[in-house]
């Protein structure tokens, strides 16, 4: 009995997996368009978040210098004493370090988001290419675009990123 139940479970799982890929290929035109648009929006949002995170990290040193000078001014104006000045000084260094480090966290989260969005776009294009009513040229183009997107996803997932330094 137990063996039979296990076999039944395995066949159900296999059918579920087949159904999933069938469903991907059988997505209608409207739903595929929705997936492309939705995926693009997600990719753009996460991409923007990554750019913001990068910009914050890039400007952390300037912010640090500005805040240290503001701290000097606060002490000279007599707004607080030297101990408070020292405390604020240490906090500024810690915050600047966090501004530099946050890039490692948020950029990786953003990368996952961008990739998820691009996968949705890719599924949309695959669905286009599987549409028999569509023009063969358009179907081919959709397939090429899907392949291009998955290549981009693979590159962004498997490489750590490109750094350029100008001396």
């Amino acid at each position: 009995m137990a063996k039979k139940q296990e076999e039944v479970k395995k066949t159900v799982k296999k059918e579920d997996a087949r159904q999933f890929w069938d469903r991907v290929l059988e997505i209608d035109h409207k739903k595929a368009t929705k997936m492309i648009i939705g995926g693009m929006i997600i990719a753009i949002i996460f991409g923007t978040a990554a750019l913001i995170s990068d910009s914050i990290a890039g400007n952390a040193s300037d912010w640090e210098n500005y805040q240290l000078h503001e701290n000097d001014l606060g002490y000279w104006r007599g707004e607080y004493g030297y101990q408070e000045f020292l405390e604020r000084d240490r906090e500024i260094y810690a915050k600047a370090d966090w501004m530099r480090f946050q890039e490692a966290i948020f950029e990786n989260i953003a990368r996952i988001g961008v990739n998820a969005g691009l996968i949705a776009v890719m599924i949309g294009f695959i669905s286009y290419s599987a549409e028999k009513e569509l023009d063969p040229k358009k179907r081919l183009l959709s397939f090429i675009l899907a392949a291009l997107i998955i290549t981009i996803v693979m590159f962004t997932s498997l490489t750590t990123g490109v750094t350029v330094s100008i001396g």
């Binding site: 000279w76 104006r77 004493g81 030297y82």
Partner: protein, 224 residues
């Protein structure tokens, strides 16, 4: 997209969340320091310089990472007032002994005195001392955390009970009054308040976004 723009919940949630985030430093700033004591024109006897039982005493309790700020000044003519800080146990024993001239001779805890000048770097306009003496129109801004040392002008946190004492003299022959002003502040719960406000703001925005994304996904499913 139009759904997002028209959505009232999104607008209200984001606006309330942003209000919390923006107001976090402002509300926190209000509780940066809390006034513990304000004595304007407090008068003590000249006897305070010779007897511990005549000094003006303010008991304070320093907690972990807490700082006390003391603004000490004298405006009266002929008056010379001195401020020292002792541990509560030490003060009590000196109070019991009541040795002559003890307020002047015993050494107190170190505190940090700031005298900012635009001409100098902050590190060269401060001093850690065990006593400050105010004459007419003098003012001292003092920070105290429990203990310290004169080397490198340091003070550090040492929780416990302490007593701020003031004693003085009046150089005018017919007047024995020593009049001074003192304001004592302690560091307040500003950091906690700032965190509560900003976390609440972010929580409101995140929850609003989650609720809306659930609603949108439901709508999309319904239209299929």
């Amino acid at each position: 997209m139009f759904y997002l723009v028209k959505n009232k919940l999104l607008k209200i949630g984001v606006v309330i969340g942003l209000i919390f985030i923006i107001f976090a430093p402002m509300v926190g700033g209000l509780f940066e320091t809390l006034q513990v004591k304000k004595d304007k024109d407090r008068t003590i006897s000249e006897e305070s310089s010779v007897s511990f039982r005549e000094v003006a005493a303010y008991e304070i309790t320093v907690k972990r990472n807490q700082k006390y700020i003391i603004k000490f000044s004298v405006y009266s003519i002929n008056v010379s007032a001195s401020l020292k800080i002792f541990g509560k146990g030490f003060f009590d024993s000196e109070f019991q002994k009541n040795a002559t001239n003890a307020p002047q001779t015993v050494t107190g805890k170190y505190f940090l005195v700031s005298q900012p000048s635009w001409a100098y770097d902050p590190s060269s306009t401060e001093d850690s001392l065990t006593v400050v003496t105010c004459d007419q129109d003098d003012f001292y801004y003092i920070e105290f955390m429990g203990d310290g040392q004169s080397v490198n002008d340091l003070i550090w946190n040492e929780p416990g009970d302490y007593v701020i004492t003031v004693y003085g003299t009046n150089s005018f022959a017919n007047n024995t009054n020593v009049t001074f002003n003192i304001e004592i502040f302690k560091s307040g719960p500003s950091e906690v308040i700032k965190k509560i406000f900003s976390y609440t703001g972010w929580a409101i925005i995140i929850i609003t976004c989650l609720v809306i994304s659930i609603k949108i996904s439901k709508k999309w499913r319904d239209t299929d």
